[in-house]
């Protein structure tokens, strides 16, 4: 496996796509390629980007989690409740951290311990957690957050136009990069996605690692929630309702194999940048929401098709080791 240039082939392609998208966006509006503008609109990539990082870890282990945006919503409405009760921010954050970890652990339990099919079961928890968010939050949004709560999602660094949350995102990227490539936990996740059986035979608890991955994913949703309320100033049960498509697309286009075991952080980051640039462009071109979703959906399907037929991954190159949905799953 030549680890230099060739190993980063996919990342190169995405990088080129980012540049192309940027060029396209610039042609749409002369105001686009302005540093301040870019920095300001970078907010749009943060909370979904962080969740994409979390989802990457889960997908690396060979599983899936569709419920992350729903966990985010549960956290935003809980923050709303905390704000209503005038709780100090650290307490509120501790609260949503615990709740998110519990929700993530529940997912992990169902998938890793009870061995339920991850796709179907997280489709279920996606609905259950979303419903929970509505039950806690009701359909009337809450907008009474004080500035402390909203700080992370709205502040900039000093007098500069750099949003604090962008730094948080960069920090998250760094953390995930380190975790995935320089910790034993990360090694285990990659290994499990490759061959969970061999990992068991090496004395490692696959169940515990997977549950850990799900909990990390849930944490990213909680962090995303804090950013969200700062960015939009409101919390409601339907927060981040149609975000899952973008998050999965970010991961898949980032070169992460949907069956697990393969993928790198740089690819996912580039893919996040690509989708963000595209979104910016679409916003400038006044493309309405449903069309935007259409384009992202097309990218998702095309991305997987391309990766299937260029021998890079998915079903093509590796023997099927896990039970997944699909016509030829064992």
């Amino acid at each position: 496996m030549k680890r230099t240039f060739v190993g980063y082939r996919w990342e190169l392609v995405i990088a080129i796509m980012v540049i192309l998208a940027g060029v396209w966006a610039t042609t749409l509006s002369p105001y686009y390629f302005n540093v301040e503008q870019l920095l300001f609109s970078s907010r749009n990539l943060v909370f979904t980007g962080i969740m994409a990082l979390g989802l990457t870890l889960i997908i690396l282990t060979g599983e899936m989690d569709l419920s992350l945006p729903s966990i985010l919503a549960v956290c935003t409405v809980l923050l709303a409740k905390a704000s209503q009760a005038s709780l100090p921010l650290p307490l509120a954050l501790a609260g949503i951290t615990v709740v998110a970890l519990l929700l993530g652990a529940f997912n992990g339990l169902l998938v890793a311990k009870l061995r339920l099919p991850a796709l179907a079961v997280t489709l279920g928890t996606m609905g259950a957690y979303r419903g929970l968010a509505f039950i806690i939050g009701s359909e009337v949004g809450y907008t009474g957050f004080n500035d402390t709560y909203k700080w992370l999602g709205s502040a900039t660094v000093g007098a500069s136009p750099v949003p604090v949350m962008l730094l948080v995102f960069i920090g998250a990227v760094f953390v995930f990069w380190v975790v995935m490539h320089f910790t034993t936990f990360g090694r285990r996740c990659y290994a499990i996605g490759n061959n969970a059986s061999a990992v068991t035979y090496s004395g490692i608890s696959v169940v515990r690692t997977k549950i850990g991955a799900y909990m990390v994913g849930a944490l990213t949703a909680a962090l995303g929630a804090w950013i969200f309320i700062g960015q939009f100033g409101s919390a409601r049960g339907d927060n981040a309702n149609s975000v899952i498509l973008g998050v999965i697309t970010s991961v898949v286009l980032g070169g992460v194999d949907i069956n697990g075991g393969r993928g790198k952080v740089p690819g996912v980051v580039l893919s996040i940048l690509f989708l963000w640039t595209l979104r910016n462009g679409m916003g400038l071109a006044n493309i309405p929401g449903p069309i935007e979703q259409l384009i992202i959906g097309t990218l998702l399907v095309t991305g997987v098709l391309v990766s299937n037929f260029t021998g890079r991954g998915s079903f093509g190159s590796r023997p099927l080791k896990r039970a997944s949905t699909g016509p030829l799953a064992p």
Partner: protein
């Protein structure tokens, strides 16, 4: 006067997988309407030959004639359509559907409108079952059927396609004696219809009982084909194992064994193995011999905690415990090198260094942090020591040959600084050159003072390497031989006979 052509003629068939020559210039014939047994040890080439006959693998050379005509099958479906069907241990059936539908899936009897005619389907199924003397309700779900019944369904399904040659691969391995008897009745009935049956088995008493002719294979070669009546079991065994015990294996001086490091006390897993008791001393190599399916791997996996036992205890270096998971047993010092190296021992897409470090990740860095250079640093001495042939430790483990892969697995376990080694078929599928290297390693392990439990189906290997040999049959230890008093025949006989002694006349509910 026309001579009826042989049902199946195999002429000069050979097949190699890389350096391993699985089948070497094999030629023999199967007469129509006979039961033809194929016997030989593991690795003799039987399954490869069957794969070639059924179209799963193309032969490198040679040809196959079916009823006198040369045949080239490219898929098993091809072979099926021409009347050759194999029934394996792993059923290719649909558990959620009923028996009749399993028989007719793909070619259901139809009504005039092209719909499935259930009435005809069940009636036909009833008839075919009755014809063969099998009592089964065609309306019952397949999922509840026993092993024997599922086999019958596969056989009947095969019969729907103008069956000419039925291949049964170890059909009685999971059957009770009563069920085996019933199978033989069915097979006999097929024979009377002119179907030829190729019957692969380790159970030589059965072979003598039902086969008309017997072919013995050894090391990929055809040794002899003769009428079953003309061969005694001893004859067959001798031909199956009779190879020279070359001095390929350098056991070296075996020291006097030290203290008991691994002790297994009455380990039981109902339905799998029972009352297993044995001990291995430091510096000793104890072999577990037996037929495939006797339960040796299951015992080892149980000791290692993969499939914890229901009862019994394991003692590692005077620490007594009941195995519950592999992590625990690893920490207590058990190293288990699994039988299925590629599925369970190695991660083919991960680098060699990562593979070697996999079981000791926590030791390679502080607080869970780890770097590739730390992995390489850890793995390098092992890779050098084992002479793993590779351009770089970063290469994927899947790029290595079988022998080198095994070295990686051994290195990985050596790196855990264990107290006990359990090796399951360590030289399976490895070329001769690397084999002796691996044997050398194993000797060195013992010489260093490790207790080694060696599971192997390679009789010369077991006889040459082990201080003591335990024979496992049907989940029980049935014999023990000290070095020197064991011979290949004695071991084989103990392994083959033991399976019958304990169950007499079991009736199904």
């Amino acid at each position: 006067m026309g001579v009826e052509p042989e049902r199946l003629s195999i002429r000069g068939v050979s097949k190699s997988f890389g350096p391993v020559r699985a089948v070497r210039n094999v030629s023999f014939s199967i007469t129509p309407g006979t039961i033809h047994a194929l016997v030989g040890e593991n690795g003799a080439g039987k399954s490869t030959l069957v794969k070639i006959i059924t179209g799963m693998q193309p032969p490198d050379s040679g040809e196959i004639l079916l009823d006198g005509k040369v045949c080239k099958f490219f898929t098993p479906l091809d072979a099926r359509r021409h009347g050759i069907t194999a029934v394996y241990q792993d059923p290719k059936l649909f558990p959620h559907l009923d028996v009749a539908e399993n028989i007719f899936m793909g070619f259901h009897p139809r009504t005039t409108f092209g719909l499935v005619s259930k009435r005809t389907m069940y009636a036909e199924a009833d008839r075919m079952l009755a014809d063969l003397g099998v009592k089964m309700d065609p309306r019952a779900l397949l999922a509840g059927r026993s092993v024997a019944e599922i086999q019958f369904v596969e056989i009947i399904r095969a019969m729907c396609a103008d069956l000419r040659l039925l291949i049964l691969d170890e059909p009685t391995a999971s059957l009770t004696p009563a069920e085996s008897d019933r199978l033989f009745v069915v097979v006999d009935s097929l024979k009377r219809r002119g179907v030829s049956v190729l019957f692969i088995s380790h159970r030589l008493d059965e072979v003598r009982r039902i086969a008309d002719r017997v072919t013995v294979m050894r090391d990929g070669e055809h040794i002899v084909t003769a009428a079953a009546a003309e061969m005694t079991e001893a004859d067959m065994v001798r031909r199956m194992v009779g190879r020279e015990l070359t001095s390929l294996f350098v056991r070296g001086e075996s020291r006097t064994p030290g203290a008991v490091m691994l002790e297994v006390k009455k380990l039981s897993l109902p339905g799998v193995f029972e009352n297993v008791t044995m001990s291995v001393r430091a510096g000793e190599i104890v072999g577990l011999a037996g037929l495939v399916g006797a339960g040796r791997t299951e015992i080892a996996e149980s000791i290692f905690g993969i499939r914890p036992p229901k009862s019994g205890k394991v003692v590692i270096d005077n620490v007594e415990l009941k195995p519950s998971n592999p992590g625990q047993m690893l920490r207590k010092g058990v190293a288990y090198i699994p039988e299925n190296r590629d599925d369970n021992g190695l991660l083919v897409d991960l680098s060699i260094a990562s593979n070697i470090c996999l079981a000791v990740l926590d030791r390679l860095g502080p607080l869970g942090f780890i770097s590739r250079s730390a992995e390489t640093r850890f793995a390098r001495p092992f890779a050098d020591d084992f002479e793993i042939k590779t351009t770089s430790l970063d290469a994927a483990a899947g790029s290595l040959s079988g022998g080198n892969r095994q070295k990686v697995v051994l290195a990985k376990w050596l790196g855990t600084e264990p107290k006990v080694f359990i090796l399951d078929e360590p030289t399976h599928g490895i070329d001769i050159g690397t084999k002796s290297q691996v044997h050398q390693r194993i000797s060195e392990l013992a010489a260093t003072g490790y207790p080694v439990l060696l599971i192997s189906s390679d009789l010369p290997e077991i006889l040459a390497m082990c201080d003591r040999i335990l024979v496992v049959a049907a989940g029980r230890i049935v014999a023990e031989f000290a070095r020197g008093e064991a011979t290949q025949e004695k071991v084989m006989v103990a392994a083959s006979r033991g399976s019958r002694s304990s169950d007499a006349g079991e009736e199904r509910p």
